[in-house]
Each structure stands twice: as structure tokens, then as C-alpha cells.
Subunit: 192 residues, 2 copies
């Protein structure tokens, strides 16, 4: 692993453990077995490193969604498929996913805007999937907005509570996600 990669990896781990604010540049470099000089050789500032982490994570997520959107599948298949990929991605990079979903919102306005920008893109992509379901008569109650919120809310919670706080395994999470989607798609009360 290159020095630059070492710094990034170290930052990811520490940010997810202690948070952005409570992780010092000193912490990051010590944990990577380096010095501050190395850090500022590769990064303009602590903020710049943060932004880089966020952008890379968000772009990968969008890429996954775009891939599924272009497969010509039904809405349910697209949604289930991209969520699976998304959770796998989250699992592999769970440190930085935490930073994206939470850390970013507890910081200065600049970071909140960054989160908002990426979230808007992601929601727009999910909206496209869901819209298809309504347009083609696949979904019959609720509304686009409601469904999008249900899905995103569930994913976030799954990630936060199960993956991060409870350290659940990947298979377990995927299983749970499918169950939740079953409820959303089929409903609680209309047939088993």
C-alpha cells in the first residue's frame, strides 16, 4: 500500500471510530506509522481528505445505481438488485459510509452542502426506478416520494444499527434487507 493509501485507510478507520472532529491529523499519521509532513505532502488539508473520501464513496454508489437503471428490468428487480450491491459496497467500506451518512451532517455548512448535493443525485436515481414501477402499474398504492423515503430510510437504519453498531455480517444484512423489501412490496396484511 502506498503512503497515500495508508493515510486514507488510517483516516477512514479513525473517522468511523472517533469521528472527524475528534480525530486529529496527528492521530491519522501515527496510526499509519507516518508523520505530519507526509500528510501535508499528499493533502492540502484535513478537510480536503474528507471531501475526497466522501466524493469517492458517493460516486461509486451512483455508478451502481446507473448500472441497474440501464438493465431494462422491472422496478422491483432494479431496486432489489442495486440495494444488494449497495450493501455489499457499504460493507466493504463501512468506515467511510458512516462518515457519509452521519459525520457529514454534524459539521459545518460546507460539509452539509456536500452531503445534500450527493443525496439529491442518489434520490433522483432511486426516484427514476420507483417512477417506472408506478408508470407501468407494478406498484399500486403509496406514491413515488413515499416509497423512496421508505427505502432510503430502511437502508440507512440497516446500515447504521445493524452493520455499524451491531457488527452484523454481510449475509445477515442482505437477508434482512430482502425481508424488509418483501414487506414493502407485498405488504404486511395481504397474504403471507
Amino acid at each position: 500500500m502506498s503512503t497515500r493509501e495508508k493515510i486514507i485507510q488510517s483516516a477512514k478507520e479513525l473517522f468511523s471510530k472517533k469521528g472527524y472532529n475528534h480525530t486529529t491529523v496527528e492521530d491519522i499519521v501515527k496510526h499509519a506509522g507516518l508523520s505530519k509532513g507526509a500528510f501535508y505532502f499528499y493533502f492540502k488539508s484535513k478537510d480536503q481528505l474528507m471531501e475526497e473520501l466522501i466524493n469517492s464513496m458517493a460516486e461509486r454508489t451512483k455508478e451502481i445505481m446507473r448500472r441497474w437503471l440501464n438493465k431494462g428490468l422491472s422496478a422491483e428487480e432494479m431496486i432489489r438488485g442495486h440495494i444488494r450491491d449497495f450493501l455489499v459496497e457499504c460493507y466493504q467500506d463501512r468506515h467511510i459510509a458512516y462518515v457519509f451518512f452521519f459525520e457529514l451532517l454534524c459539521n459545518r455548512e460546507e460539509f452539509k452542502r456536500l452531503h445534500k448535493k450527493h443525496m439529491e443525485n442518489i434520490l433522483a436515481l432511486l426516484t427514476k426506478m420507483v417512477e417506472k414501477g408506478y408508470k407501468e402499474g407494478e406498484f399500486r398504492c403509496g406514491s413515488v416520494k413515499t416509497l423512496v423515503n421508505l427505502i432510503v430510510g430502511y437502508m440507512r437504519l440497516l446500515y447504521m444499527e445493524r452493520l455499524l453498531l451491531n457488527n452484523a455480517g454481510l449475509e445477515e444484512i442482505l437477508q434482512e434487507a430482502q425481508e424488509g423489501l418483501d414487506v414493502i412490496f407485498r405488504g404486511l396484511k395481504c397474504g403471507s
Copy 2:
């Protein structure tokens, strides 16, 4: 409003605007038209104020849930009812709800534990409601855990995205929450 209340109110507003870390004690007292001396006359530390805010918010939420649990209603009625009350409470106190749901998770271990403790209580209460639904045959697919996660995730997202980021009105939020619950309870695909 007493001086103590002024400080609390000021802290709530600033914490939700700038976050706990980026709100200084100086900010809080200036915004309340007071001085640091007043702050440290009423509070042992900035952390103690934070804990007080969190505990009070969490206790009120639990109280709402307990009230609905003891009404002898069906699971769906209990869930819909307490969520309504909860959202009203959140709306009135949206500043501190933000701190509870997000700020707490982006801070030192001590605060994370506090969040976890309250969350466990709240989830246990919700679980009781949901269990009743399965026990009495009201709910027919999914599982207790899945349903609890779906509901909590949706509430959190509604609160975060709609109430906080989009500044939606109370009636609008309540309406949306009902729609989401409709989907969960009836399902997307089994009858309109």
C-alpha cells in the same frame, strides 16, 4: 423565561444550526444575552447541558410510547397513534431532536453510549407494540425485527430530510407518515 431556560433554549437552537462541536459556550451565552459566568453558574460543563437535553427528549418520547402501549388498542392503532404524537413532539422540539438523532453519533464514545441506551429502550417499547400485532395475527408477513427497523428507519428519514432539511410543515409530515405506514401495513401490490 428564566436564565436557565434561556440558556437551554439558546443551546438547542445553536446545536441544531451549527452542531454541538461547532457551537461554543461563548456562542450560547451571547445568543442568550448572558455571559459565561451565568452558564457555569447553572451547568457543570457543556457536556452536562448536552446530556440534560438528550435525556429530557428521550424521556418524553418513551412516555408517549408507554401511554399508547397501555391503551389496549390494536398494534396498528398503537403504532400510528404514537408516531403521530412523536412527530408532533419532534416538530415542537425539532432542534433537540436533531441533536439526539445525529449529533450524538458523531461524538465521543460517552455520547454514543447515551444514544445507544435510549435507543434500546425506545426499540424495546416499539418491539412490544409490533409483537402484539404478530401474536394476535394482525400482521402476517415479515418479522418483528424487520417491521421495527422499517418503522424506525422511515421515521428517522422523515424527520431528517423533510422536517429538518426541507423545513416541511407539521401537517405535511403527518400526512406523509400516514402514507408510508399505509404502504407498510397494506403493501404496495395487494389491492389499492
